[in-house]
């Protein structure tokens, strides 16, 4: 099946048709850029509630211009929508495009004209083969993750929404339905667009029907209740001209179909109303209605398990039809009005009830009804009241309790509408709503996936933001450092003076005090400096750190080794001691006794590499930060190893000792002394704790004897 035959579109003669054509093209063309199979999967989606929902969205946003309100069946009320004319059989959802574009009656009979198999037909009848739009349209978002584009923004969004949804849907069911796709694809397209006047022949209809009969139930259902008699009768008058012609040609096949379909008991009432006299009527309304009914019967025959559901939705129509027969004037205007009326009130009630259900507490919902009866409310519960009314009364009571005026008005109105129905209709109402809900499951699934996709994107963006912020931080810090360098260049003389004074100090206390004084002096100078007048608190903090770094760099040797060679020698000895230990000490050495659970991560190389960098830092603050990072790395690894409990000091200390022995950072003792001299007073909180653990570990290492 080549691309050429996939969408036979016949040019519409009248404006209205043209308008629809365009709409349809943009609608159904969405998926057509990819290969044929996919196109079919996409555009031939059968009874997809999601589709109808989508169209419902647009219906609310562009009701007037399209003048096809009556086509937008229930689907729009799925959203508590605004459609004024709805039919209870919203499940007809069938072809989204269908709804949007052409009246079902017309569509339906037109369906017959294009046999999917007679592929040459499209071109032979002067089709506009897929306008460029279809190809020009960029491939629509792949199904996963589906990206819903601006949902309710009118036509375009609607079309774009169409695709991802369809794809999602396709994934759900495509194995089941694939074989019937092409068929339906062509049907839905052609039915929407084809102008009856150009129809070449009615024969294909038969073929199509036959083809449908072969389909699996799902496929047949897809074809399903795509229109309703009431709509047809309403709409039929508009396009009488075309329908007249159509009815003539179609009669042979639909009559045949009709007869074959009748026996199904469920619809007996319908047959009563209609089977007596469909033929003589050239009237388009009747024809259209029958046409639809025919379709219904077809469904019932092909998919018995769907009958039950269908009958539920059909029932309002049944009623309408019964009315028709009762009136004995099936095609009179009054009948039409009446039919329309009951249908309207049903769908209206359904819509309102749906709204009420929307706002109801969904958790309390299931227990609400029994609660109502149990609690009695015997005074208020008129035995004639059905459960819906009971439920609504409970809701109303709650709304009154909360003084939610909006809600009260809404519920009261719903109650009014619903209470007019008898129990049977109410059950139908509930069933119709339940069915709606069920039908929307794929759409909900799609929304869920959308949400997942969005969340993934959000997480990604957050990650990106973090990265950018980090970059910003680094850049800021560098900028600050440069500014500080500029500042300190002016104060070189002072700096040299300080270094000289520092050299003169002998006692550790004096040195600490000298450094602190000089830093304070520099901080003050910075605060007075022009560059720093408008610096933020954070920038000043950074600047102070930069100044400290700069100063400590200049005096590092003097500060780190106050006793010069003595300190260096001591460090060397300790380093050698640890080196000896590292040959003996293993992770499960008895001097450490690291708990068994944690041994898997030994020898904690990431913690070791953290502490090995400690001599790259010159300020005591940076050194402490380095130690902290090592400690938290160890803690992270420990909590990773033992999922059952949180590591405490009992677990941590042996590992810390082990890591220190293995890493054996040089100048350990001088580091401890340096930090104690120049930073101890500024240590606080957690920093203080980890520093304590570090010094404790160093102390402990001193006591371990490698001979043991």
């Amino acid at each position: 099946r080549g691309r050429g035959d996939e969408m036979p579109i016949i040019a519409a003669p009248d404006l209205k048709q043209e308008e629809r054509l365009q709409e349809l093209e943009s609608c159904s063309g969405v998926g057509s850029t990819s290969d044929d199979t996919e196109v079919r999967e996409v555009s031939s989606r059968p009874s997809t509630p999601g589709l109808s929902v989508v169209s419902g969205i647009s219906a609310t946003s562009e009701d007037i211009p399209n003048k096809i309100e009556d086509l937008r069946s229930e689907c729009s009320s799925d959203f508590g929508g605004k459609d004024s004319v709805t039919s209870p059989d919203g499940e007809e959802a069938g072809h989204g495009a269908h709804h949007l574009t052409s009246p079902p009656s017309q569509a339906d009979s037109l369906l017959a004209m294009f046999d999917p198999l007679s592929s040459g037909e499209g071109s032979s009848t002067g089709t506009i083969v897929r306008p460029k739009v279809h190809y020009a349209r960029p491939p629509h978002p792949p199904p996963d993750p589906p990206i819903p584009e601006a949902c309710a923004l009118g036509q375009e969004p609607r079309h774009s929404l169409f695709t991802p949804h369809c794809l999602a849907q396709a994934e759900l069911e495509h194995t089941k339905q694939r074989h019937s796709f092409p068929d339906r694809l062509v049907r839905s397209r052609s039915s929407d667009i084809v102008c009856p006047g150009r129809r070449p022949t009615s024969d294909p209809g038969l073929n199509r029907r036959a083809a449908v009969e072969e389909r699996d139930p799902a496929g047949a259902f897809a074809l399903g209740p795509s229109s309703s008699p009431s709509k047809d009768s309403l709409k039929g008058e508009d396009r009488k001209d075309s329908d007249d012609e159509k009815s003539d040609r179609n009669r042979p096949w639909w009559k045949k179909r009709f007869v074959s379909a009748i026996p199904k008991g469920v619809m007996s009432c319908m047959s009563v109303g209609l089977s007596d006299d469909p033929l003589p009527r050239q009237n388009c309304q009747a024809q259209a209605a029958e046409d639809i009914l025919d379709k219904y019967r077809n469904i019932k025959r092909t998919s018995p398990n769907l009958c039950v559901e269908e009958s539920v939705h059909d029932s309002p129509r049944d009623d309408a039809l019964q009315n028709i027969s009762a009136d004995d004037l099936p095609d009179s205007a009054s009948q039409t009005a009446q039919q329309h009326d009951s249908k309207f009130s049903f769908s209206d009630a359904k819509k309102k009830l749906r709204l009420a259900l929307c706002s109801a507490d969904s958790v309390a919902l299931p227990i609400m009804t029994p609660a109502t009866t149990r609690n009695g409310l015997p005074d208020h519960t008129d035995p004639e009241d059905n459960e819906i009314v009971c439920f609504l009364k409970v809701q109303l009571a709650e709304a009154i309790n909360l003084q939610d005026k909006n809600q009260m008005a809404q519920i009261q109105e719903t109650t009014r509408c619903v209470s007019r129905f008898d129990a049977r209709t109410c059950r139908k109402l509930l069933a119709a709503i339940a069915e709606d809900y069920r039908k929307r499951a794929p759409y909900i699934a799609y929304l869920t996936r959308c949400r997942q996709g969005l969340q993934t994107s959000q997480a990604h963006l957050e990650r990106l933001l973090q990265r950018v912020l980090r970059d910003k931080e680094v850049a800021n810090r560098y900028f600050t450092t440069v500014c500080v360098r500029l500042l300190l260049e002016h104060m070189e003389a002072k700096m040299l003076e300080f270094i000289k004074a520092f050299q003169g100090c002998t006692a550790a206390d004096d040195k600490t005090a000298a450094v602190e004084d000089f830093l304070r002096y520099l901080y003050g100078a910075m605060a007075r400096d022009a560059i720093w007048q408008y610096a933020s608190e954070d920038q000043l903090q950074d600047a102070q750190m930069a100044i400290e770094r700069s100063v400590m760099n200049r005096i590092f040797k003097l500060a780190f080794y106050p006793n010069q060679d003595g300190d260096i020698l001591r460090d060397q000895l300790f380093h050698e001691h640890i080196q000896r230990l590292s040959k003996v000490v293993t992770a499960n050495h008895k001097a450490l006794q690291i708990p068994e659970v944690y041994l898997k991560e030994a020898p904690w190389p990431s913690a070791q590499s953290e502490i090995r960098t400690i001599n790259a830092y010159k300020t005591p603050r940076d050194k402490v930060q380095c130690i902290l990072r090592m400690c938290s790395t160890i803690m992270n690894l420990l909590s990773l190893a033992n999922e059952d409990s949180v590591p405490g000091a009992d677990d941590f200390v042996p590992v810390l000792v082990f890591v220190l022995i293995r890493a054996n950072p040089p100048c350990l003792l001088s580091t401890v002394q340096y930090i104690n001299n120049f930073y101890a007073s500024r240590l606080s909180g957690e920093e203080c704790y980890w520093w304590m653990q570090f010094t404790a570990a160093v102390e402990f290492i001193k006591t371990i004897d490698d001979r043991k």
């Binding site: 009992d650 042996p654 653990q693």
Partner: protein, 216 residues
């Protein structure tokens, strides 16, 4: 780490001492996070935890320092409990040895820090009362004899833990307030007394403690 008694906010350092496996970590985890051996623990570590309290209108910041309880780390004690306002000495009621260890800690703490530090002796794991090896009377009378308070707790059942920390905080506040009053009387003298005692106590002790590790 001394109490910031001057303002409305007190900051206390409490050190957890006791043999390994007596449940120090569980105790503090239960107190700060109300968790016990939870599979869904979000806390990464339980060795340094903080808790903010409000006691009789005064804010208290509690920093709880967990320590390694294994015998071989006993020598590190002075590093652990330096500048502590309170110590919680935990033993396992099913383990006589752990109670002996508590006694050692009490001796050391009293020697080093005198009465500056508030001591709590805690018999943990009372959910295992049937295996009790440390009698209630013995433990309580001992605690009284050394001026410590005794508590029975179960981290597993979350028993007695709130009381333990609340009582301890109140006592530390009293100590801090008494100190403040002392400061008020003779600023320089008392200030030096607090600092002085610590320095004098700590430094000479720290060295021998490090040295005597082999004995401990």
């Amino acid at each position: 780490m001394a109490s910031g008694g001057s303002g409305k906010t007190y900051s206390f350092k409490v050190v957890l001492l006791g043999e390994g496996c007596v449940g120090k970590t569980s105790l503090v985890l239960r107190y700060c996070e109300n968790k016990f051996n939870d599979k869904h623990i979000t806390t990464l570590q339980a060795s340094f935890l903080t808790k903010k309290l409000n006691i009789t209108g005064k804010r208290v910041n509690l920093a709880i320092w967990d320590t390694a309880g294994q015998e071989r780390f006993h020598a590190l004690g002075p590093i652990y409990y330096r500048d502590s306002n309170g110590a919680i000495l935990v033993y396992d009621i099913t383990d006589e040895d752990s109670f002996q260890k508590v006694k050692n800690w009490v001796k050391e703490l009293r020697k080093m820090l005198g009465n500056e530090i508030c001591l709590c002796i805690v018999g943990n794991k009372i959910d295992l009362d049937k295996d009790r090896h440390v009698s209630v009377e013995e433990a309580e009378s001992y605690a009284e004899s050394v001026g410590a308070k005794h508590y029975h707790t179960s981290a597993k059942l979350n028993k007695g833990i709130e009381e333990l920390f609340l009582d301890l905080c109140k006592r530390m506040m009293e100590t801090a307030q008494a100190e403040e009053r002392l400061k008020g009387n003779g600023a320089s003298q008392s200030a030096s007394s607090r600092r002085g005692v610590q320095i004098v106590d700590d430094e000479p002790q720290a060295t021998p403690a490090g040295g005597c590790c082999s004995s401990g």
